[in-house]
């Protein structure tokens, strides 16, 4: 059990951490995330008593660490620092054996038990083959694995890691994260790790702490903490978070920066996209750079809605699972009126979004160029007992331009743009 109570930390007069309060217990993997300079490393240093807080206490199994001897703490808590530089030619094995220091008496040398533990820990972090190599000749990733093995050789109850995977390639990152997970679940360790990779934090952590300006901005299970709103506000970015329920993973959607500048340019072609169910995401991505893009009607929480939001695209949205209301329908027609080109993707069509087809009809009637992607035939995605197929026929007869796929559409747009310029 680790309790952090009312911690304030200063460097000189600069406040680094303020009123930090949290606790975590055996079997938990706690991830600390937050922008640079938010106090993540400082917090780890306070927990490991490298730094003394001005106010507050850290309790390890109910006892105050500021009253414990250093070797006593070292038998319970191990630290993997952000950077390790060792310029003296120890072998990797010797470094890992140093992890046994707190368990040895002053005149005691490492015995066979210590060697066994060191070997076991090097096996765990997959670096036993480096045992006789010189530490100052290892690569960053190899060194990191050796340092983690050293921390494990302390046989700690609490493991603190400051960006443990920052020097590692993707395979090693996953291995180390899996190991951390296993240590918490099988050995009932507490692992607290500063993690920059939000998707890693989402996949592996039991709890996540989001720090901002020395305060806990949010703390809880990953789903609660890693939301688009939190990430946007804490990191001051326009990105949004996309969770994939199928793989239980998270990815960050980052918009291109140019958008705001483009809006001011006069004579930018206006394109309205009628889409849904994720069918418009790629288009928004590729069109947003060169044209002024709007979209609608899309249901809230639809992938297309999230993407549109992250690109700052104006979008008409409807409540989830509700049929498009007359009000939203009209709003959408107004947007269409203002645009030069209307694109309709090959989304599935049901009674909830059938009104979007009527918007397309409206667009044609208002002399707009209406481009329709027809990659999946309408019959296969008509869930309205034929009503949608009927409207499609009308679209075709009245001059809708049917294109086989997104690529053809983009080419068409390019030609259209060239023509319009002249």
């Amino acid at each position: 059990m680790l309790n952090v109570k009312e911690i304030d930390v200063y460097y000189g007069d600069v406040k680094i951490l303020e009123k930090i309060n949290f606790s975590t217990k055996e079997g938990k993997l706690l991830g600390i995330i937050g922008p640079n300079g938010s106090g993540k490393t400082t917090l780890l240093k306070v927990i490991s008593r490298i730094l003394k807080p001005r106010v507050g206490t850290v309790l390890l199994d109910e006892s105050d660490i500021s009253k414990m001897r250093r070797d006593e703490i070292a038998r319970k808590m191990a630290v993997v620092p952000q950077e390790t530089s060792i310029s003296f030619p120890f072998t990797a094995m010797e470094i890992v054996l140093m992890g046994r220091t707190p368990h040895l008496k002053r005149f005691e040398n490492e015995g066979s038990k210590d060697f066994d533990i060191a070997k076991k820990c090097m096996k765990l972090t997959n670096c036993l083959e480096l045992a006789e190599r010189r530490i100052d000749e290892l690569s960053g990733g190899e060194l990191q694995k050796v340092v983690i093995a050293r921390a494990l050789a302390q046989e700690p109850k609490v493991l603190l890691m400051d960006e443990p995977t920052s020097h590692l390639d993707i395979k090693n990152q996953i291995e180390i994260m899996e190991l951390m997970k296993r240590l918490t679940k099988e050995d009932r360790m507490i692992v607290i790790a500063v993690i920059h990779d939000l998707s890693m934090a989402y996949i592996y952590c039991d709890e996540v702490m989001l720090l901002k300006d020395g305060n806990i901005f949010s703390f809880g299970v990953p789903d609660e903490v890693l939301t688009s709103e939190n990430i946007r506000e804490a990191f001051c970015v326009q990105a949004s978070v996309k969770k994939d329920p199928l793989t239980n993973s998270l990815s960050l959607v980052i918009p291109r920066k140019e958008k705001k500048r483009k809006i001011k340019e006069k004579g930018l072609l206006k394109i309205h996209i009628i889409c849904g169910g994720g069918s418009g995401s790629t288009l928004m991505h590729s069109l947003n750079e060169k044209y002024e893009v709007t979209a609608g009607v899309i249901h809230k929480f639809d992938t297309d809605f999230e993407v549109a939001k992250s690109f700052d695209i104006d979008v008409v949205s409807e409540l989830p699972f509700s049929p498009i209301s007359d009000e939203k329908f009209k709003e959408n027609l107004n947007m269409i009126k203002r645009s030069d080109i209307v694109i309709m993707t090959d989304m599935p069509i049901g009674f909830g979004n059938i009104k979007n087809l009527y918007s397309a009809i409206y667009a044609i009637e208002n002399k707009k160029e209406v481009l329709i992607i027809d990659e999946t035939p309408i019959e296969e995605r008509d869930f309205t007992n034929g009503e949608a197929t009927e409207i499609f026929k009308r679209l075709r007869e009245n001059g809708g331009i049917f294109l086989k796929d997104t690529h053809k559409l983009l080419n068409f747009l390019k030609d259209f743009f060239e023509k319009n310029k002249k």
């Binding site: 250093r70 808590m77 390790t84 060792i86 030619p89 002053r106």
Partner: protein, 325 residues
């Protein structure tokens, strides 16, 4: 691996013993080995012959003094390099040499018998001042320690230079003392320094594993259970005492304390549990051999010999390892 280190240690002890025997035999007065053996084994005469005086009162104390000072400087240098995590570390790094020189030169203005005492007092006081100048909020950042050592060193050197400039016919004496040498060795000196140096070296050896951990960086050492600030204090105090003790008898002999730890790290590796004793034996041997050479070349300063012969050897070792360390 362990066997190899043990063999190296035995070889070093053997080399030291052999060097001691050879050094006793070598000198400007040609004394046959047989006579020397006889004198050493059987010398409880009331009145000593000239040969006996040379062996017992001149060469033997000088040999032992050389070995002791070589050991002290090497062990202290090894410790300072661990403490500062810096290969440029040497026993004098925190201003001990300039403090000792200042004390010695000051003493020479009054009485030559006061020189060792003043040297040791000023050396330790300098270390104390430097240490306190470097202290920030109960901690001693090693870089601040290094810089305040250099600053105080320059300040004292300035005063020393001024005194030298004003000293007139004493200048020769001062220069010789600062260059360092074992010209005036006698049994009394050996008796005075043997205990502080041996106890100091043993005390440092107790902390040899902690020195290993210190090389990982201070924060890592703390998380491995080392009380870093206390350890730094202990190491600084002990190594200042043994350095100051050595310097008070010999003047400032350079090079040994800087180079021997490096040579031994190349040979036996960085583990202080083996590095400290091997450095001690090698340091004793090297200073002894250098002094013997200095003696036979007409009493040139021993520092000249250590640097002149040691540097090429060191560079050879450095290059033959190829990789940096």
């Amino acid at each position: 691996m362990k066997r190899r280190l043990l063999l190296i240690l035995i070889a070093l002890v053997f080399t030291l013993t052999a060097s001691i025997l050879i050094s006793i035999a070598v000198g400007s007065a040609d004394i046959p080995l047989k006579t020397i053996a006889k004198i050493i084994i059987n010398h409880n005469h009331v009145s000593l012959s000239a040969e006996e005086v040379i062996i017992l009162q001149i060469r033997l104390p000088r040999v032992f003094l050389g070995v002791l000072i070589g050991m002290a400087l090497s062990v202290s240098g090894t410790t300072m390099q661990a403490l500062f995590k810096n290969p440029m570390g040497d026993p004098y790094i925190i201003g001990i040499s300039s403090g000792a020189a200042f004390g010695a030169v000051l003493a020479m203005q009054f009485s030559y018998t006061l020189v060792p005492l003043m040297a040791v007092i000023c050396a330790i006081s300098t270390a104390f001042v430097v240490y306190n100048l470097a202290k920030v909020g109960g901690k001693i950042p090693v870089n601040t320690l290094l810089l305040s050592g250099i600053a105080v060193g320059y300040f004292l050197s300035a005063i020393t230079s001024f005194m030298m400039f004003k000293s007139g016919e004493n200048l020769n004496q001062i220069v010789f003392w600062i260059m360092g040498g074992l010209w005036n060795a006698n049994w009394n000196q050996v008796k005075i320094i043997i205990l502080p140096i041996f106890i100091g070296m043993l005390a440092l050896y107790i902390f040899s594993r902690d020195m290993n951990v210190m090389l990982l960086g201070e924060e890592s050492a703390e998380t491995l259970g080392i009380d870093v600030e206390t350890l730094k204090k202990i190491l600084l105090i002990i190594s200042s005492i043994i350095t100051a003790t050595a310097v008070s008898m010999s003047g400032i002999i350079g090079f040994v304390g800087l180079i021997v730890p490096h040579i031994m790290r190349i040979v036996v590796g960085p583990d202080h549990r083996i590095l400290l004793p091997t450095s001690a034996f090698t340091g004793g041997t090297i200073l002894l051999i250098a002094d013997t050479i200095a003696r036979t070349m007409g009493e040139i300063p021993v520092g000249v010999v250590t640097a002149l012969f040691g540097t090429p050897f060191f560079i050879y070792l450095l290059r033959s390892r190829k990789s940096s360390y």
